[in-house]
């Protein structure tokens, strides 16, 4: 993995610090071109990996990448699935079965469709695979060497102690996509223990790691202990604690943990991309 990964929160009005900033971002990135412009600026600076959710608009970005194979030669995407709000809003409105109906391709009550068979026979692993395939469709033809499950799903399974699902996910991503499975979590120490307990070794885990302990469940100390002692491949996110920290000090803190392989961050301007990238390369 590269040291610097471009994130996508800024494109989809995700700010953990300010609803007002969210709105400003939504206005700024109204058009796909404005997103592509930032991606192109990142590439000019040598940032060749884009880690993004399976938001509907990413499909358009993928199409643009496919249409320009020379320009995007060597460019990689790390998909993170699912785009949780799509499903969360659907569950609120349609219920769980209604949501499955909406998103599983074909008639789920028909044994003539793959989704129908999986649904009627309650083959949960097959259903999971169908969901993964449907989320992955938009990345067809694009290099996706690491595929992540989003924290809402990871942490839900973690709390419910359904660790076998991680194992099945791990197997399927390796088998079908020839990619490394990755996990996003807000509960890093508990997840490492859970994955290790199912035999998953040295997992790629993306989690909040920052000097102020923001979104580091259980506290900074246990995170630091795991970063020093456990075998895994950490990607640090929310390194600026949603913008509350000074970038220099924030990245310097990450430098204390040689295990951290990559830093995920979102930026909207070339100068900000450049500054953060230089800091990461200096301290990591």
């Amino acid at each position: 993995m590269e040291k610097v990964l471009l994130g996508d929160n800024q494109f989809f009005a995700v700010s953990h610090l300010s609803d007002e900033r969210s709105r400003a971002q939504a206005i700024r990135f109204k058009d796909d071109e404005s997103i592509i412009r930032v991606i192109d600026q990142a590439i000019e600076l040598g940032i060749m990996t884009f880690m993004c959710t399976t938001h509907d608009r990413i499909a358009n970005i993928c199409q643009h990448i496919r249409n320009n194979p020379v320009k995007y030669n060597g460019f990689k995407i790390y998909p993170c699935m699912p785009y949780a709000h799509k499903y969360a809003n659907a569950i609120t409105e349609l219920g769980i079965i209604g949501t499955i109906k909406q998103y599983v391709p074909g008639n789920i009550f028909s044994t003539l469709t793959k989704g129908g068979v999986a649904f009627l026979s309650k083959d949960f692993i097959r259903l999971m695979e169908i969901f993964i395939d449907s989320e992955m469709k938009m990345f067809k033809g694009i290099d996706t060497p690491v595929i992540f499950i989003q924290n809402v799903i990871v942490d839900m399974l973690l709390g419910l102690k359904m660790f076998d699902v991680f194992k099945e996910y791990d197997l399927y991503i390796r088998r079908k996509y020839n990619a490394e499975p990755g996990y996003i979590t807000m509960n890093l120490p508990a997840l490492i223990d859970a994955l290790n307990s199912t035999g998953i070794e040295k997992p790629i885990i993306c989690s909040s790691i920052n000097r102020s302990g923001f979104r580091m469940s259980g506290g900074k100390e246990i995170y630091e202990k795991y970063l020093n002692e456990k075998e895994f491949r950490p990607i640090a996110m929310q390194v600026l604690a949603a913008g509350a920290l000074n970038p220099g000090e924030a990245i310097e803190y990450l430098g204390k943990f040689p295990k951290i392989e990559s830093v995920l961050f979102g930026a909207s301007s070339k100068s900000h991309l450049k500054e953060t990238k230089e800091l990461i390369e200096h301290f990591l």
Partner: protein, 340 residues
């Protein structure tokens, strides 16, 4: 220490979220869950050691429990909460609490008589910014309050189609019960209890049978007035966004789940607040939790419930009584809307 034994009734979005949080809680064993969907129950059977039931009565009778979490559609709350309280269980119930305030009152009294811990899931009170807002108002930072606005917007119903129980008014569906209840509850606990409704518009936008927008004027006991502006058909919001704006004679505070913006006409020295704007962020105000799922507040409210059971004390935040008051205000709003 002996772990508490808990169960969840209703495995929709909130029930699953509660199950995961309780499942990860170090002081609790989540021993059973109950739902009517065999698909969801089979997933628990296959992937977890948690016992599954499709009848809540049977589950409560069979299992030795300390508490239950009720996360079913609102119309079932009364029968389920009553059954659990009658059998001596502490109860955490999802919002809104009741559809019928006389039934709600019965549950409030029953829980009080049995001295059982009772809490409702108005999770905003476990967001650090709203806690801070209450603290600042209690210190009289913006002087005498002259008006307030409580707002919530989000993208729940953004096109015309047939939905679930949330589109049925008789089952507790609609923007008033689902979205506005959060704002009413925040207003009543942070600013004061509304006693009179002075004009209401319940607007249908995409839904056929329920309102998608709630616009109402509220009057508190103190005479203070405010506006309630809620719309769950606004897709310019990625997720539900709830905010309170309080206008005082010495300044104004705007508070949402991520930040507090304070404007003061003069400095407020005891709080080290300058003249003009001061911003405070959730990054400094979040309540620390051991397990995070979708927001600190969801874990923090359950941590608090568990803590109260262990310490044998009643909750200060989100009691049945407070939730019942929100239901009473909803009832007043529905009645008032008929005038227009």
């Amino acid at each position: 220490m002996i772990k508490l034994k808990g169960a969840i009734i209703g495995l929709g979005k909130m029930g699953l979220s509660h199950a995961a949080i309780i499942g990860a809680h170090p002081d609790v064993n989540l021993i059973s869950v109950c739902d009517t969907s065999s698909l969801v129950l089979d997933a628990f059977k296959k992937f977890s050691a948690i016992k599954t039931y499709n009848s809540y009565q049977k589950m409560i009778d069979d299992m030795t429990l300390d508490f239950v979490i009720v996360a079913t559609p609102t119309k079932y709350h009364y029968q389920m909460v009553k059954y659990a309280l009658d059998r001596g269980l502490h109860v955490f119930c999802e919002k809104p609490f009741s559809l019928n305030t006389s039934q709600g009152k019965e549950l409030v009294d029953l829980a009080a008589n049995k001295m059982l811990v009772n809490q409702v899931g108005f999770h905003n009170h476990f967001i650090g910014t709203f806690r801070e807002l209450k603290r600042l108002l209690d210190k009289n930072v913006i002087g005498e309050i002259v008006h307030f606005t409580g707002e919530a917007y989000g993208p729940v119903v953004t096109k015309e189609k047939v939905g679930t129980w949330r589109s049925k008014p008789e089952e507790g569906g609609g923007c008033l019960y689902d979205y506005a209840s959060h704002v009413i509850n925040l207003i009543q606990e942070i600013i004061g209890r509304p006693e009179k409704i002075c004009g209401t518009l319940l607007k249908k936008i995409y839904s056929r049978d329920v309102e998608d927008g709630v616009y109402s004027m509220l009057k508190l006991k103190s005479g203070l007035t405010g506006t309630l502006l809620v719309n769950w058909s606004d897709e310019t919001y990625r997720k539900m966004a709830t905010s309170l704006t309080i206008y005082g004679k010495k300044g104004k505070i705007i508070c949402d789940a991520t930040e507090i913006k304070i404007y003061l006409k003069e400095p407020f020295v005891p709080e080290k607040l300058d003249k003009g704007w001061t911003m405070k962020y959730i990054t400094d105000l979040a309540i620390p939790v051991n397990f995070y799922l979708r927001g600190e507040e969801y874990s923090a409210q359950l941590d608090y419930f568990i803590e109260c059971i262990k310490d044998k004390r009643q909750v200060i935040y989100n009691s049945f009584e407070q939730a019942l008051y929100t239901d009473l205000v909803i009832e007043m709003i529905v009645k008032d809307a008929k005038n227009y």
